[in-house]
C-alpha cells in the first residue's frame, strides 16, 4: 500500500442540484453512470431503459425490449454495448448506437436483480433471486452460461466485478467474493440480508449495505470490519451504496428520502442530502469527479459539488 498523501485535498461532496431528469418511465429502478461518467442509464419500471446525458439533461436513446421492469443496467468499457436485466428473468445485451437487442440470455429462474460486465465486456454476470450468479459469454453464441455460481443460499441482490474478482451480496447475509486468480471463494457473513456491495477504488476493501441499516467496510483479504456506518434507514428495500470518487466518503440511499455520506475513516456522518420525500431507490457516484445521481420515484437528480460551474468543457456532449 502506498503511503497516503501528506495532506489530502479537501474533498467536496456533491450538494448542488444541477439537473433533474424527468424520466417518464415509471419508477426508476436504478440509475447508473457509464464508465467515464459522461452518460447515465436509467432503468424504468415500464420495461424501458434510457440513456441520458445528465450534464445536459437530455435523453439520448430509449432501449425497449424487456418484458418486465428493468432492474439494473451497465455499460461496457468502450461504451459500445449495454447490458440490462429485469424482472422478466432475462439479461439483455444492447447495441448502444442502434438500440437493438444483440442478445438475450435466458436461464434465470427468477427475476434478475443485478448485472455487470467484466472488464473487457466479454462476459456478463447477472445475479438473480434464484440465488445464482450466471456468467454469460458474449463472445460465443452459446445460449447457456459459462458457469453458474450457486453458492448463495438466497437471492443475489448485488454484484460487482473487478478484473479478476466477482463480488456478490446475497439476501442470506453473506458477501461472497469469487477470486478467479486465486481460485477461491471467500464468504463473509454480515448478519443481515445484503442489499448492495461495492469495491473500493483501491481494490482493498469491500463495502456492504445490509437491511439492518448498516454499511460495513470489510477488509478484502481478512474479512475484518474496517468501518461501520449507520444513521440512515434501510430495513425493507434494496437500496444502493457507493464510495466517493477518491474513496474518501461512503454514501448510501435511505428510506427517509435522503442520501447519507460518511467519512470513510472516521465513520462520522458528513452529509445528509435531502433528495425527496420518498425512498431514494438508487444512486450512482461519478467515477472520477464529485458527481452524484440519485433516483427517486420517476425522477433522477444530478448533484455536483458547490464549486462546480455550470458547464465544464471536459464533460462533452
Amino acid at each position: 500500500m502506498a503511503f497516503p498523501e501528506p495532506k489530502p485535498q479537501k474533498t467536496e461532496l456533491p450538494k448542488k442540484l444541477v439537473q433533474t431528469l424527468e424520466c417518464k418511465q415509471g419508477a426508476v429502478r436504478a440509475v447508473r453512470f457509464n464508465v467515464d461518467g459522461n452518460y447515465c442509464l436509467t432503468c424504468g419500471s415500464d420495461k424501458s431503459l434510457k440513456l441520458w446525458n445528465p450534464h445536459k439533461g437530455t435523453v439520448l436513446k430509449t432501449y425497449s425490449g424487456h418484458g418486465y421492469e428493468v432492474l439494473d443496467a451497465a455499460g461496457s468499457f468502450d461504451n459500445s454495448q449495454l447490458c440490462s436485466c429485469g424482472a422478466d428473468k432475462t439479461v439483455v445485451l444492447w447495441d448502444v448506437a442502434t438500440g437493438q437487442v444483440i442478445r438475450k440470455f435466458r436461464g434465470h429462474a427468477g427475476k434478475v436483480n443485478c448485472v455487470q460486465f467484466n472488464e473487457e465486456a466479454t462476459v456478463i454476470l447477472s445475479g438473480s433471486i434464484d440465488s445464482s450468479i450466471r456468467c454469460w459469454d458474449c463472445r460465443s453464441r452459446r445460449p447457456e452460461p459459462i458457469q453458474i455460481l450457486d453458492e448463495a443460499k438466497d437471492g443475489v441482490s448485488s454484484l460487482k466485478v473487478s478484473d479478476h474478482e466477482i463480488l456478490s451480496g446475497s439476501v442470506d447475509g453473506h458477501v461472497r467474493r469469487y477470486d478467479l486468480r486465486a481460485g477461491e471463494l471467500c464468504s463473509d457473513y454480515v448478519g443481515s440480508p445484503v442489499t448492495s456491495v461495492c469495491f473500493s477504488k483501491d481494490g482493498q476493501c469491500t463495502l456492504a449495505a445490509s437491511l439492518d441499516s448498516t454499511l460495513r467496510l470489510l477488509d478484502k483479504d481478512t474479512g475484518e470490519m474496517l468501518g461501520e456506518y449507520t444513521g440512515h434507514k434501510n430495513t425493507a428495500y434494496k437500496l444502493d451504496c457507493c464510495l466517493s470518487e477518491k474513496d474518501t466518503h461512503v454514501g448510501s440511499c435511505s428510506e427517509d428520502g435522503k442520501v447519507y455520506f460518511w467519512d470513510l475513516v472516521e465513520g462520522s456522518l458528513t452529509l445528509s442530502l435531502p433528495v425527496s420525500r420518498g425512498v431514494v431507490q438508487s444512486l450512482s457516484f461519478h467515477p472520477s469527479e464529485p458527481g452524484l445521481l440519485t433516483a427517486t420515484e420517476g425522477h433522477v437528480w444530478f448533484w455536483r459539488e458547490e464549486s462546480h460551474e455550470a458547464q465544464e468543457p471536459t464533460l462533452g456532449c
Partner: protein, 936 residues
C-alpha cells in the same frame, strides 16, 4: 543457396548468398509496396503520375514535355525546312528509361530471341556461326560459350552431362530389345519386364547378349483441350507424313492402334518399308500391291467406340483420350464378339464358355390362394395344465386338437431350457424375504405365528357353525383351472392380504387346498364364520385373482432378475467438501462485531476454464476438471450432513413440546431470525457444536456411525413428533391446511426401516390393485415389493419431490398476480403520495402482503394486549401466503431459501410469529434429523 559449411563441398551454389544473420538480429521485413520509392539516376524522388499520363516521367519537372509545357521544343515550320524533315521512329517518343536496360527498347546488348530458342541444334549452329565470324579473335570459343543462352534448364544440362540423350528415358540401362522400345513406349521407365508378345518373336533381329539399352522415354500426357468438333481421338491426315512416308510403321488408318499413334507422336523415325508409302486406309481402298484386304469392308459400328469412361488402359499412355481400338487379332474374331473390352494383362479369354446360369422359377401359387392371412382363434394347450384346458374347452368350446409341444412358440423359457438341457438361472427365484434383514424376518414370523394362533382359536370355536354347501360351480372350475398353475407360494413369499392376517391365512389355505386338488368345501370350514355367503364368494374370487396374479409376477420376477452383485451407492450424497462453519458462531461474532476469521469462510473454488480465459486470468486449477466447489461423497443419512447444513433455524421441536405439551402452536418454537440470539439458543448451540466436535472425532476413529445408533435416534425422534402431530390436529382444525403433507410422514417413518409402517401403505395399494387384474399391475406391485427398505425411502422422497414440482408457478406470473410477493429486499413502490411523510403508510393496493405486514406492525404496537388473538389470524393468513411462496420456489434450494427469506421478512418485526408449521417438508425433515444430536 550456398552450402552453409564446407562439409559438403561438392554442392553447387547458385545466386548470391544472403548475409549470415547476426545473433539477436531480426530479419528485416521487406519494404511494403506502398512505401517503396522510385529515384532517378541522380537520386531524386520520382513521382508516379499514372500509367497513362506519363508514368514516372511526366515531362520537365513534372510538366509534360518541356519547360514550356506541351509545346514541342523541336517545332520547326515545315515550310522552310522541308528538306530536313526527319522520319520519326518510335524511339523518338520514348523516354530515357524505355531505352535503358529494363525499358521496352533497351539499347544494351542482350540475348535475342534467336539465342533464346529451345532447339539445341539451332543454338549450336548460331554459336558456330558467330564463332566463325569472330574467328580472328583469339578467344572465340570462350565468347561462344558466353553467348550460348541458358534457356536449357539445369536439369536437362545435368542429365546431359550424365550421358543422357534426348529421346531416351531416364534411369539405368536395361537389357532389352530395341524394337520393343519403339513399339511399346508406354513401358515404365523402371522397366518391369512385360510378358513377351507374340509379335516380338516374329521379328528376329540380331541382338548381342551384353548390349544394354537406355530405358524408354516416358510419354507425357497430352492434355490439350479439345476444341474442334471431330470425334474423340480424331487426327487429321498429316500430308507431310502421309505423302512422304515419314511416319512409316503400321497402317495409317483413322483408327490406328494406340501404341502406334504414340510412336507417331514421338516422332521417332522408323525404318520405312518402302511399300507403305502414300495414303492408305480403309477409305482409300486397297492398293494393288497391298496384301491386307480383310479390312476393306469393315464397317463402322458404335461398338468400336468406348461408351464408358474406363480406367486408364495400360497399353497406351493416353489415359482414355483415344478413339476406340480395333482389336484386330483376327484369329479371335468370335471372341471379340462376345467380349468387348480389353483383356487384362495376365488374363486371356476363356476358351470354354461357362455354363449358363440356372434360373429358378417361383413356385406356382395355388388357384385359391389369397394373399391375406386369416387367424383362426386357436387355443393351444400346454401339457401341464389339463384343468385349464378342460375349462377353456368348456367355456369356448373350441380347441385345436393338436398335441402339446408341437409348436415351439408355445414353449416358455423354462421349457425351452429344459429341452436344451441348460441349467436353471442362478439365484433361484429370490423371494422378497431374502432382501429383508434377519430382524425383519423374525418380526414377520412373529406376526405370522400370532395370526395362526388366533386362527386356531377361531376355527376351534367355529367348528360347529355350518354353512350352505352350495359351493358354486364356477368356483369349482377355478379350482380346477388353477390346480397346476399356481406356483407354490412359499407361504410367506407373497402376501396380498398381509394387512389382514386372518384373511391371509385363509388365502394360504385356499392355495394349499387348490394345490392338493381338494374340494373347496373342506377349506371353507376355515373361513370366517361371520361372513355372509356373498362375502365368502367375493373373497374366493379375490383369492383366485390374487393367486393368478402372483403366479405370473413370481415367474416373471424370478426369471428376469438376478441378485445384485455390487451394492448400490444409493445412500451416499454429494455434499460440498468444505462445509460452512456454523451460522450460530457467525451470528454471535457479528453480534460482537468481531468480523474477520469468525465470519469468514474460505473455500476452494474452481472457475470454469472459459471464464478464466474471458477474464484474462490464468486458470488456478488448470489440471482439475472440477467446476465450482469441490464435492465429496458422504453418507446420505449421516447425521452430520444435516447438522452442518441446518442453520440455527432448526429449533428443537421436542424440547418445546415437552415444555408446553398442550399448547404448541403460537409463539413457542419461534423461528429465530439471524440477528437475535436468545440465551437458550446460545446454550443449545454450544451443545450442538460440542456434540459435533465429539462426534467428528469419533467418526475419524471408526469412520461410520453404526446403523443401530442411527436407528435408535430415529425412533426416538418419532415419538415426540407423533405426539405433536396429534396435538396439533386436535387443537386446531384450520391447522389442517398447513400441516406437512403425508409424504413427509412417509419419508420420516419409512426411513426407520420399519417394515410394518412402510409396507402397510404399499399393501393397501396392492390390495386395491388386486381387485383389478390388469396387465400393468404385476410390475408395479413387484416393484414395490422387491425394493429393499432403503431404496423405498429414497423413492418416497423422490415422490415427494415429484409432487412438489407441478405446483411450480412461474414467478413472473405470480408476481403479476401479486406484486407484493417478493423475495429478499423489496423494491420501493412505484409512486408515493406527496402528502404523506411515511412512505410505507401508503403503498400500492396491489401489494397485500406489505399491507398486512404494516398493519400487523401497527397492531403490534398498539394492541399488544390482543396479541394472541391477532396472531392467530395473522398466522392463518400468513400460512396461505406461505403456501404460495413455496410453490414458486426452486425445488432443491427450497429449504434454505424459505428460511432466509423468512429472516428477511422477519426484519419487519415478524420474527416472533410462530413458523414451525409453515416449514417446507424437507426442512422439517432436516430438523427432525438433528434432534437426536441435541438430545445427546
Amino acid at each position: 543457396m550456398e552450402a552453409s559449411d564446407s562439409e559438403e563441398e561438392d554442392l553447387a551454389s547458385y545466386g548470391t548468398s544472403l548475409e549470415p544473420l547476426l545473433e539477436g538480429q531480426r530479419i528485416k521485413k521487406p519494404v511494403p509496396l506502398q512505401e517503396q520509392t522510385v529515384k532517378d539516376e541522380k537520386g531524386r524522388y520520382k513521382r508516379f503520375h499514372g500509367a497513362f499520363s506519363g508514368g514516372f516521367s511526366a515531362g520537365y519537372f513534372n510538366t509534360v514535355g518541356s519547360k514550356e509545357g506541351w509545346a514541342p521544343s523541336t517545332f520547326v515550320s515545315s515550310r522552310q525546312k522541308r528538306a530536313d524533315k526527319r522520319v520519326l521512329g518510335p524511339e523518338d517518343f520514348m523516354d530515357e528509361e524505355d531505352l535503358g536496360e529494363y525499358g521496352i527498347a533497351p539499347k544494351e546488348i542482350t540475348t535475342t530471341e534467336d539465342f533464346a530458342s529451345k532447339h539445341k541444334d539451332r543454338i549450336k549452329e548460331k554459336a558456330r556461326q558467330i564463332a566463325e565470324v569472330a574467328s580472328s579473335i583469339p578467344g572465340a570459343t570462350a565468347l561462344g560459350d558466353l553467348i550460348s543462352p541458358a534457356k536449357i534448364t539445369i536439369g536437362v544440362e545435368l542429365l546431359r552431362k550424365m550421358g543422357w540423350k534426348e529421346g531416351q528415358g531416364v534411369g539405368p540401362r536395361v537389357k532389352r530389345k530395341p524394337r520393343k522400345q519403339k513399339s511399346d513406349p508406354e513401358v515404365k521407365v523402371y522397366g518391369c519386364a512385360l510378358p513377351p508378345d507374340g509379335s516380338e518373336d516374329e521379328e528376329d533381329e540380331y541382338q548381342p547378349e551384353n548390349v544394354t539399352f537406355a530405358p524408354k522415354d516416358v510419354m507425357p500426357v497430352d492434355l490439350t483441350p479439345k476444341e474442334n468438333v471431330h470425334g474423340l481421338g480424331y487426327k487429321g491426315l498429316d500430308p507431310t507424313k502421309a505423302l512422304f512416308g515419314v511416319s512409316g510403321g503400321g497402317d495409317f488408318s483413322l483408327f490406328t492402334d494406340g501404341s502406334e499413334n504414340t510412336s507417331n507422336l514421338l516422332g521417332d523415325l522408323r525404318p520405312s518399308k518402302g511399300r507403305k508409302l502414300g495414303i492408305s486406309g480403309q477409305a482409300f481402298g486397297v492398293g494393288a500391291m497391298e496384301e491386307e484386304d480383310e479390312d476393306i469392308y469393315a464397317t463402322e459400328t458404335l461398338s468400336k467406340y468406348d461408351t464408358v469412361l474406363k480406367d486408364e488402359e495400360p497399353g497406351d499412355c493416353l489415359y482414355g483420350w483415344t478413339a476406340p481400338k480395333q482389336y484386330k487379332n483376327k484369329k479371335e474374331v468370335e471372341k471379340e464378339v462376345r467380349y468387348i473390352g480389353k483383356i487384362l494383362d495376365g488374363f486371356c479369354l476363356a476358351s470354354k464358355s461357362s455354363a449358363p446360369k440356372k434360373t429358378y422359377l417361383p413356385p406356382e401359387l395355388p388357384r385359391d390362394y389369397r394373399p391375406v392371412h386369416y387367424f383362426r382363434p386357436v387355443i393351444t394347450a400346454r401339457n401341464e395344465n389339463p384343468f385349464l384346458l378342460q375349462a377353456l374347452v368348456e367355456s369356448t368350446g373350441k380347441l385345436e386338437t393338436d398335441t402339446p409341444q408341437e409348436s415351439r412358440h408355445t414353449l416358455n423359457a423354462s421349457q425351452r431350457r429344459e429341452l436344451l438341457g441348460e441349467t436353471a438361472l442362478e439365484g433361484p427365484s429370490p423371494s422378497v424375504l431374502e432382501y429383508l434383514s434377519g430382524k425383519d424376518r423374525e418380526r414377520i414370523k412373529e406376526v405370522k405365528q400370532a395370526a395362526e394362533q388366533q386362527m386356531k382359536i377361531q376355527t376351534f370355536s367355529q367348528q360347529s357353525v355350518n354353512r350352505s354347501s352350495s359351493s358354486d360351480g364356477a368356483h369349482h372350475k377355478w379350482q380346477m383351472v388353477l390346480g397346476g398353475q399356481i406356483a407354490i407360494p412359499g407361504s410367506s413369499d407373497f402376501k396380498p392380504f398381509a394387512k389382514n392376517p386372518e384373511k391371509q391365512k385363509r388365502y394360504e389355505d385356499y392355495i394349499e387346498s387348490l394345490k392338493q386338488g381338494q374340494k373347496v368345501d373342506t377349506q371353507e370350514s376355515r373361513s370366517d364364520p361371520g361372513m355372509t355367503e356373498w362375502e365368502r364368494g367375493r373373497e374366493r374370487e379375490e383369492f383366485f385373482k390374487a393367486a393368478v396374479l402372483y403366479k405370473s409376477s413370481n415367474s416373471i420376477l424370478s426369471s428376469r432378475f438376478t441378485r445384485a452383485k455390487y451394492e448400490d451407492d444409493t445412500d451416499k450424497v454429494e455434499v460440498p467438501r468444505d462445509q460452512e462453519t456454523d451460522i450460530d458462531d457467525k451470528e454471535s461474532a457479528v453480534k460482537m462485531k468481531m468480523f474477520g476469521k469468525l465470519t469468514r469462510d474460505k473455500f476452494e473454488w474452481h472457475p470454469e476454464k472459459l471464464l478464466c480465459k474471458r477474464f484474462n486470468v490464468p486458470d488456478p486449477y488448470s489440471d482439475s476438471s472440477i467446476v465450482g466447489l469441490p464435492k465429496v461423497k458422504r453418507d446420505k443419512y449421516s447425521v452430520f450432513n444435516f447438522l452442518t447444513l441446518s442453520e440455527s433455524s432448526t429449533t428443537t421441536v421436542t424440547q418445546t413440546t415437552e415444555k408446553m405439551p398442550q399448547n404448541i402452536n403460537p409463539n413457542k418454537p419461534k423461528k429465530p431470525s439471524r440477528w437475535d440470539v436468545s440465551d437458550k439458543e446460545k446454550k443449545r448451540k454450544d451443545s450442538i457444536s460440542e456434540f459435533i466436535s465429539l462426534a467428528r472425532s469419533k467418526v475419524e476413529n471408526q469412520q461410520q456411525l453404526p446403523e443401530s445408533t442411527k436407528e435408535e435416534a430415529r425412533n426416538r425422534t418419532k415419538e415426540p413428533l407423533t405426539n405433536k402431530v396429534v396435538n396439533e390436529s386436535t387443537d386446531q382444525e384450520e391447522e389442517e391446511e398447513s400441516r406437512p403433507s403425508m409424504d413427509l410422514f412417509k419419508a420420516i417413518f419409512a426411513s426407520s426401516s420399519d417394515e410394518k409402517s412402510s409396507s402397510s401403505s404399499s399393501e393397501e395399494d396392492s390390495d386395491e390393485e388386486v381387485h383389478q387384474p390388469t396387465s400393468a399391475v404385476p410390475d408395479s406391485e413387484s416393484g414395490s415389493h422387491a425394493n429393499p427398505p432403503d431404496t423405498s425411502v429414497s423413492e418416497v422422497q423422490e415422490n415427494m419431490a415429484v409432487t412438489n414440482e407441478p405446483d411450480f408457478v412461474p414467478p413472473l406470473l405470480k408476481e403479476e398476480l401479486n406484486k407484493g410477493e417478493e423475495f429478499g429486499p423489496k423494491l420501493p413502490p412505484v409512486f408515493f403520495s406527496k402528502t404523506t411523510q411515511k412512505p410505507e403508510s401508503v403503498l400500492l393496493s396491489s401489494s397485500p402482503e406489505v399491507n398486512k405486514k404494516e398493519k400487523h406492525k401497527k397492531n403490534k404496537e398498539k394492541y399488544k394486549a390482543k396479541r394472541e388473538h391477532k396472531h392467530k389470524k395473522e398466522k392463518v393468513r400468513k400460512k396461505k401466503h406461505k403456501k404460495h411462496r413455496h410453490k414458486g420456489k426452486h425445488k432443491n434450494k427450497k429449504s434454505e431459501k424459505s428460511s432466509s427469506s423468512d429472516t428477511a421478512d422477519s426484519s419487519d418485526s415478524l420474527s416472533d410469529v410462530e413458523k414451525i408449521t409453515n416449514l417446507s417438508p424437507q426442512e422439517f425433515l432436516q430438523r427432525l434429523k438433528c434432534l437426536p444430536a441435541r438430545k445427546q
